[in-house]
Amino acid sequence: MTGDIQPTDTAAKGFDRRTMLKAAGGSALAVALAGCSDLLSGSEDDGGNGGEEIPDEPIKAGLQTFTEGAASVLGLQAQYGAEEAVSRINDADGVAGREIQLDVVHEADAHQENYNTFVEEGKDVTFGPISSGGHLSMLGEIEDSGVINVSTDGTVTTLFEEELTDPTYAFRFQNHDVMEAVSAAVTAVEQLGADNIDTYANINPNYAFGEDERRLFSAAIEALTDADEVYSGFPDLLADDMSTHVTSVVQEEPDVLFTSCWGGDATLLLDQGQGQGMPDATDIIVGPVLYGSANDYTEGDIQGNIWSGSRNFYWGFPDTDRWSPGQELFEAAQEAENTIPTAHYMSGYGAVTAWATAAEKASDIVGGWPSQEQIAATLENHGFFTPAGYHTMHESHQCYSNSHFGRMVWSDDIGGPLLEDVSVADPREVSPPPGTSSFDWLENW
C-alpha cells in the first residue's frame, strides 16, 4: 500500500530524492533504490485524504471465507449473507451513492496473503475470515496496512478482551465464544434444574476454538451447579470418525453433554451418536453451533433433547407476527441459494452491514468520502440494525448482539430443523462487561 508513491506525493514533496536520482540518469538505480528509500523514509501516509469528493467508481470490497472443503458449510453461509447484504445495499443506492463490488476468495490457509492481496488490489474494505486462527494471523497485517477488516467470525473470546487491546482497523461482528458457551450452560440449568445436574461431558473439536469453548462452558456450568466433568474428548477437526467419543459418552451417561462441534463434525457427531444411543444416555445435549449445520441434518439426527445456539441470529425469532425481517431474510436465502440461513449467514450479512452503515454515517459527517481512520472511528460505538435486531460495535471492536438458544425440532415444511422455545440472552447477561476477562468474570459469578 504504502509502497506505491502517489504522483500527488511527489508533487507535494517537490524535488525528492527519487526524482533527483532519475534526473541524474540512473533511473534503473533509482528504482532499485526506491525500495531502500521506502525503508529509510518510514511509512508513507495515505490516510489524510478524508473528506475528498465522493468518487464515482464503486466500492471495492473483498471477502475471504471457506468456499470449499468441509468448513464451507459455514463459509458459504457467510458468503451468501454478505452477498445478500451487498445486493440490498446496492438496491438502496449503495453507500453514499457508491455501489459495492464484492470479490470472494477461498480463505484456505493463507489469511495474511489473502488480506494483503486484497489491499494490493486496492480494496476499500475487507471482510472475513471464518477461521479464528486465521483471524489472529491477520490482525497484525490489518493494523499495519490500515484497510479496515470486519471479521465475520474468528470468534476466540480472548482476542479483543486481552490480546488486542487497542485496535484501529480490525473489527469483529460475530459474538465471541463466551456468550454462546455461557448461554449453553444457562440453558442446561434452566431445562434440568441446577440440582439435577451432577455430571457433564464435553466433546469439542481439537483446536483452539474447541478448547476455548470447553473451558468457558466448564467454568460456567461449575459456577451454576455442583456438576463434575466425567468425560472430555477432542475429536480432530473435520474428523471422519467420532465413534470413540460417542462410545465414551454413552458409557459415562452424563446429565449434560456440551459440544462445540460444527459443520460436518456436528452432523457426524449426532449421526454416529444416534447410532449408539447417545441422546438416550444424556438428559440434554447443548451445542452452540449445532444449528449451523441446519441444512445438512436429517430428522433422525436430531432426535432427543438437543438444544442449540444460533449465535446472534435465528431467523424465526422473534415471531414473524411481531418482526418480519427475519422471515424475509429466510425467504431471500431460500430463493437465492435454496438454503436455511444460519448464524453464519448473519456473520456475512452483519459484517457488511456494520461497515456500510458506518461508512454512510461517516460520509454524512465529513461531507465527502471518509478515510479509513474516519470510518474506523465511526465504527467504534456504532449501533445498527439487521434482521437479527440491534447490534452495537463496542469500542473494544467487538460487536455485541443478542444470543439465541433453542431446542432443535424437525420441520417438514422447511426440510430442516427449527428452534423451539427460543430464549434470548442480552449480551450483558452472558458476557463480561467490556474490559473484564471472561474467566475472571466467570470466577466471580
Partner: protein, 330 residues
Amino acid sequence: MAVAAADLLLQSVTDPSGWVIHTLNGLFRGFILFMIASGLTIIFGVLGILNLAHGEFYALGALLFVSLASYLTGLVVAPTDPASLLLFGVLVLVAILVAAAVLIPVSAVIETVLVRKIYDRDEVYQLLLTFGLLLVLIDLMKISWGPGTHRPDAVGGESLNQVVDVIPMEEWFGFSYSSYAIFSIFAGAVVFLALLWFFDRTKTGRIVRATAINREMATAIGVSSDRVFTLVFAMGGFFAGLAGAIHSGSAIAASADMGGDALVLSFVVIVVGGLGSIRGAFVGAILVGVLSRWMTWQQPALELAAPFALMVVVLLVRPEGLYGTWGEIE
C-alpha cells in the same frame, strides 16, 4: 503410566464392553483403511508406482455412492418391516457396488492414458504425475459435486445408516452397536479373503503375481503386461472406491478433499505391513485402525502421532515391513 495401565486393566475386567466397542470401532476403521491400502499396495507391488492419487479414488467412490444411494433409496418408501428393510439393504448394497464399479473404467482409463507412459521413468516423475492427477481429480470432483460435504438423502427422516442400524444388535450381542459398522467389517473381511483367493487360486491372479516378480519373463511367456497393469490399477481403483462407498454410508460426510488423509494413513498401513503384501496391508490396517481408536480413547494427545511413530519403528527395525516381500504380491 503404570497407574494408567493398572486403571485400564481394572476397567477392562469390570466393564469389558468398553474394550469390545472401542476395538470394534478400530476394526471398522481398520477395514476401511485396508480396502484403500490393498489397492495401493498391489499397484505398488506390480507396477512399482506409489499412486498419490489413490485417495481420490476413495473420495470419488464416496461421492458416487452419495448420489447413487440418494437416487435409489428415493425410489422406495422408508422401510417399516423386515421385508422392506431387506429391499432397502439390497438397494444400498447395489449403490455401493455400482459406485465402486464406476471406478473400474475410470482408473483403467487413467492407467492407459497417463500412468502407463511413465513406468520406465524416474520415480520422481511418477510422484509428480500422480500428484498432478490428485489435484485434477479433486477439482473435477468439486466441479461435479460442489465444494462442500455431502450425505445421502434421508429416507423417512433418517440417514441411511440410521435406517440400517435398526437391526437390533443389543439383543444379539448384549450391547448396542452400529449394525452398519458390523456390515462394513464383514465386507472388509470378504474383500481380504477374495483377494487372497484371487492371487493364490486363480490363473489370472498367478499371472499378475508372475508379472510382479518379473515383467520380462511374463512377457516372454505371452502375458500382455499392459493388460495386467491395467487390470491391477483398475482393481486398486475398485477397492478404494468400495472403501469410499461403504464409508460414506456410515455417518461421515463425503467431500472432494477427503482423499488426502486416507492416502497418508494408507502409506502407514502398507509400510507397516510390507510394500506389496496383501496380508501385510490387512494386518497393518487392523493395527493402525485399532491402535488409533485405542489411543483416541486412552491417550488422545498421541492419536495423530501414533500411526507415524509405529511406521518409523517398523521401518527402522524391520524395513521390509511385517510381511515384506519387496515388490511381489503375497
